[in-house]
């Protein structure tokens, strides 16, 4: 408990110091609970998520950093490796390939990389995975783009 708190505090200071280092990620800690974090990440360019801003929720376990944080999308996203209803993410480093060498910040970078490089063969969203697996890139991109517009872009007016 004490160890995880100390580590998270170091990450907090690092985030404050490096605030401008990565303009695609805004990581923030809950005011009253250092085990709860949220992040805003920018959809990578040249993907159907471009122009969207996606919110992630982090729940950090007491055994952190020996155990990975739980991360899910709060913003609706159409992506083969993200559960459409719960926002749960299928990414090896959040499961068995986790190591303390990762940080909340580098997890955000890995999620942005996953947005740009979906893995349709291990889908959490089968509809999305099937479109890609059947080669219907256009169908996938228009669905993903539609949900980016509906859910990840600020409403005008």
């Amino acid at each position: 408990m004490q160890a995880s708190r100390a580590r998270l505090f170091k990450e907090y200071k690092e985030v404050q110091r490096e605030k401008t280092a990565d303009p695609d990620i805004q990581l923030a800690c809950d005011d009253s609970n250092i085990f709860k974090w949220t992040a805003l990440i920018k959809g990578p360019s040249e993907t159907p998520y471009e122009g969207g801003v996606f919110q992630l929720a982090f729940a950090v376990p007491e055994q952190y950093p020996l155990q990975p944080p739980q991360v899910r999308f709060l913003t609706k996203i159409f992506h083969p490796n993200v559960h459409f209803k719960t926002g749960e993410i299928c990414l090896d480093i959040l499961k068995n390939a986790w190591s303390p060498a990762w940080t909340l910040q580098s997890v955000c970078r890995a999620i942005i990389a996953l947005m740009a490089h979906p893995e349709p063969d291990s889908p959490l969203n089968c509809d999305s995975g099937n479109l890609l697996r059947s080669g219907d890139i256009r169908g996938f991109q228009s669905m993903a783009k539609m949900y980016t517009r509906l859910a990840a872009m600020p409403k005008k007016g």
Binding site: A3, K10, L66, H83, D92, K95, N96, A97, S99
Partner: protein, 325 residues
Amino acid sequence: MQNKDGPLADGESEAATSNPTPDFDDWAKFGDDDIMQQQTAIRAEEAEKTPFVGDKEPLSSLAAEYQSGSPILLEKIKVLGEKYAAIRRTRGDGNCFFRSFMFSYLEHILESQDRAEVDRAKSNVEQCRKTLQSLGYADFTFEDFFALFLEQLESVLQGNGTSISQEELLLRSRDQSISDYVVMFFRFVTSGEIRKRSEFFEPFIMGLTNATVEQLVFSLEVAALAAVFLKCFHFVNMFCKSSVEPMGEESDHVHITALSDALGVPIRVVYLDRSSCDSAGVSVNHHDFIPAVGGLPNASGSTETVSPFITLLYRPGHYDILYSK
């Protein structure tokens, strides 16, 4: 017949159409979190059988395990009995090599009170810290693990306020918050050494990743991700990310060579398996991992006379600690 079949068929089709939704919801309930919880439960069950580090047992307890098993193994255990007196088991959770090394090394320092060895080890640890820094690891990702190991190393030396007994060392090795942190320290050190000398280790790692097509494909998937945040990625980095740094990933000769070199600690591994090629009686093979001197790679079969004070017993898939007579 039709009357009888009709409603049945209807009932079936109704069931078939109404089923998918609850089925889907049922599946949806089993998220990755549930799988991880189940894995935790399985580990907890395993934990009740063996502590991280067991008690010292006479070698006869090893023979008892194979009483109705292979005669070759029983023969080999008899041969082992000529040189070795006892065994200390470690939990088979994928960290057994690192955990065996941890206890064996700290116990050796506790018994020998070899201050020179501690000083030597400390300067190697400092070198490892610099290695990780130069590889681009942020200090805060590894410093807690380093600090905890150095604390253990200091505490097994008597004569300072925090020194500990053999019993306390055993208790600490069984305490997850200490034991896992030290294992993680070794994983960082091992990873740093492999990446620092990637040209030396690459051929061995290529062999491992080529072992199965599935593994290779997996590695390539990891590569696609890794490429984004590792400037100069190659197989070695992927191997470290997937097979060295995560807890519970098993060790083999690559890990042992790297750890032995990085810390400058020789390790003897005694192999107990069913192989036998001798016509005149069985013998037990061992391999000494002798650390590189002056930057030379860990050369197997070198004529050095350094004799390891750490002896591990390897049975396919697992390491335990062995005690000489």
